[in-house]
Symmetry: C2
């Protein structure tokens, strides 16, 4: 699955074949076709694997649960999230390739839709938890999700549109305005 | 160029060849290779063509210039923008394919970066104009750009993540919170 992520990021969904995964993983020809039932299976499991690798670890989660519920914490959380994404560039490029491939494959679209909704709901739960006393309502969580997803796309695909300082300022401004008292 | 947009949206950047453009445009084999100097040329001009087709017409621009400078106008503008994008689905899918291809092609990346920055600046100008009296500052324009770009990605690639009513509510909430008094 990790090899499939690298192939997706580098060559796009159309470049992803059992054979290309075998080569990337440096395993004997025919190995990938033994582990994945179909190309749809390969695509959807590569997508799940990206989400799995993007989960914060238990120590990070514990730290978040004990952070002060204020806007500053939000900004820190969001910058960490964006840094985690930047550190797994191929994973996010693979997800974008999968989204585009989903316009052509209903089964992949259904799997990704379920995954994204679960992710938004999980974020909402974290925010609600953090938000004892903080106005981190569901609308704020969704608006931040929208804005930050595009910051990530911009950073991954056209990194010179915004400088790093501009991105940092946009993250802070987004929290300042969207997470209203 | 229009044929190239359709091929990009349907088959991705890797499916875009002179030959596939000839077939899509129903012109004799060899025609595309007479009109485009290289594959980079074909990719970048297809991208420019999408932006050209997304421009609002003169009547729409004139109407915007005479609209009342309030938040309601912003919401109307943004819903129109999103509708214009939905009406040119293949153009936006083609732009996403081009962004991903730009991670592999520095020349394409440079062209797209210039184009996107110009677009953000143009939006800022429109907003400044509208904003005589309105707090449509450059930060607001950028934050709306981020949020709306991702709404469009979601709508085009995983249309069931948010319902149409949810998308409408998110547009209104984004303006309400981001365009602060």
């Amino acid at each position: 699955m990790d090899a499939a992520i690298e192939v997706l990021a580098r060559e796009g969904a159309r470049g992803l074949t059992f054979r290309s995964v075998d080569v990337e993983a440096a395993v004997p020809p025919g190995t990938a076709s033994n582990y994945f039932a179909s190309r749809d299976d390969l695509l959807t499991r590569a997508g799940s694997r990206v989400y799995e690798r993007l989960q914060p670890d238990d120590a990070t989660m514990a730290r978040h649960r004990t952070s002060a519920p204020d806007r500053h914490t939000y900004v820190v959380l969001m910058r960490e999230l964006i840094a985690r994404i930047g550190a797994f560039r191929t994973g996010h490029l693979a997800l974008l390739e999968l989204r585009l491939e989903a316009t052509r494959r209903p089964e992949l679209r259904a799997v990704l839709t379920g995954r994204v909704r679960a992710d938004i709901d999980a974020n909402a739960n974290v925010a609600y938890h953090l938000a004892s006393g903080l106005p981190g309502d569901a609308t704020a969580v969704r608006l931040l999700y929208l804005a930050f997803n595009w910051i990530v796309v911009e950073q991954l695909t056209l990194p010179d549109v915004f400088s790093e300082a501009e991105r940092d300022a946009l993250v802070a401004a987004a929290v300042e305005r969207i997470v209203t008292p």
